[in-house]
Amino acid sequence: MAPIVSVSNLSKTYASGFEALKGVSLDIEEGEILALLGPNGAGKTTLISIVCGIVNATGGKVTVGGHDVVRDFRQTRAMIGLVPQELTTDAFETVWNTVTFSRGLHGKKPDPEHIEKVLKDLSLWSKKDSTLRELSGGMKRRVLIAKALSHEPRVLFLDEPTAGVDVSLRKSMWEVVERLRASGVTIILTTHYIEEAEEIADRIAVINSGEILLVEDKKALMTKLGRKQLRVDLTQPLETVPDSLASYDLRLEGDGERLIYEYDTSAERTGITALLAAMAEAGLRLKDISTRQSSLEDIFVEIVEAGR
């Protein structure tokens, strides 16, 4: 099946001369949830903005539903719903009016029943006559989602949807996302939290400094990246790793006062039990034990180095 969104060799240099995207290529399949994962400034918003028509690309090509986003902007933009990163709202408008306005802008005939359903799905119905300045940040975020859903998009972009959002709203937001996916909507969300990508996405694309480092199925990626470190602090420093522990691939750090063991959390056997037993047998006295999840930063470093 042809991808619903296809980005090829996309580049963007801002007027300031800053190169925000350096030849990005990415295909998004219809009906999937793709997380665009990357640190602040990676180029996530720039990428989304080009697909949606807010920013002009410097080079490359984007198609949505097979249509070019520049030449056939009417077809592509009618298909897309966008929830921006910033909470930008028209403070003096009512929820109902602003959501109705969005539907009209996208060329759809008025449909109060649909708007009512969207507002109810997002628990905004009781607020329909409130002006936006009366709403909390979390509710404003929901209004932005309602606006994006007002015209029944086939592709939904959520740019950092959980920034400044509390746990319960986050949960209800993921429920909405799940329901949309079940109805066939393709969802692309950006985030800089690896847990978030893990929680919701089918596939994860990692982006850094305007380059896509990898695109992979979530499960495969989590196995690959879900590494942990076991750090063992010793009471007596060691010169070398004892021979009896050679099979564990240990690393000595901190002037021999710390042993590092890397293991894979998703593996059947992590080898921790055996390792600790072997350490006791070798007569090592342990001061402290801690574990550490590889952070997004470690992962980036790892991916970047693997790419060399």
Binding site: I54, N56, R74, T89, N97, G104, H106, G107, K108
Partner: protein, 253 residues
């Protein structure tokens, strides 16, 4: 053509007018009444007639133009500047809508509002003085064309402006002097020759003169020159707009 979108923008903007009814409708009516009291009643007792027209009637077209120009520029610029300022412009830019349709929505609403207020001024004026319109179609020609042209001009200012100061610069600082010095309250025949010559460089003189001709068949300049001036200005605004469409100037980075 995305008619739904044009309608959405147009009615959204008109709804804003309704919310700010007091400020947008009542205040021009009050200021016009004040002009009539001050200029019409006080000065009008000294200047009985100009070219056979009572002074109160004589100043009416100029007052309508003053309001029309400031209102249209103000509304045209605010309509597009405000979403730029709050960031809600993202939605317009990511909609299946061409620049032409954006302009139709915003400029259409600004012009409509200007015409409504201009009409209210005309009605208010007719309460103070006897008015007759000699050439209703010519009057409508100038009225509508001026509203559209200056709403478009306002739209351009709204795109260009990067803060509220720049936004207000032209409607507050440029337009009033041009209108006051453009023969709103006097005939330029009453000026010394030097100032009369200088006045001919003021484009607003042509607007007011042509508009006044449609009412009373008196004018400072040839009405055809007036029509030409407004058409030229409209053409200039349209070319600027075409350039903005092509480059995405200040809208799309």
């Amino acid at each position: 053509m995305n008619i739904e979108a044009v309608k959405s923008i147009y009615f959204f903007e008109m709804a804003r007018t309704r919310r700010t009814l007091l400020q947008s409708v009542v205040s021009p009516v009050i200021s016009t009444s004040l002009y009539f009291i001050v200029f019409g009643a006080a000065i009008g007792t000294r200047i009985q007639e100009i070219d056979g027209i009572s002074y109160g009637a004589f100043i009416t077209p100029g007052l309508m133009m003053l309001t029309l120009l400031t209102q249209c520029i103000g509304n045209g610029s605010f309509g597009i500047y405000f979403p730029k300022f709050t960031g809600t412009i993202y939605e317009v830019l990511s909609s299946p809508i061409s620049m032409l349709e954006i302009v139709l929505g915003y400029v259409g609403a600004a012009a409509t509002k200007g015409l409504m207020i201009g009409t209210i001024i005309l009605i208010t004026a007719s309460l103070f003085v006897d008015l007759s319109i000699a050439h209703p179609f010519v009057m409508l020609f100038f009225f509508v064309l001026t509203a559209v042209t200056f709403s478009l001009f306002g739209f351009l200012i709204g795109i260009w402006a990067k803060d509220f100061e720049q936004l207000n610069l032209i409607p507050m600082l440029v337009i009033p002097p041009l209108v006051f010095l453009g023969g709103s309250f006097y005939s330029i025949d009453m000026l010394p020759p030097f100032w009369r010559a200088v006045s001919h460089f003021n484009p607003v003189l042509y607007l007011i003169s042509g508009f006044r001709w449609s009412f009373f068949e008196i004018s400072d300049v040839n009405p055809l020159a007036s029509a030409a001036i407004i058409l030229v200005f409209l053409a200039l605004c349209m070319s600027a707009l075409t350039w903005i469409f092509r480059t995405g100037y200040k809208l799309r980075s």
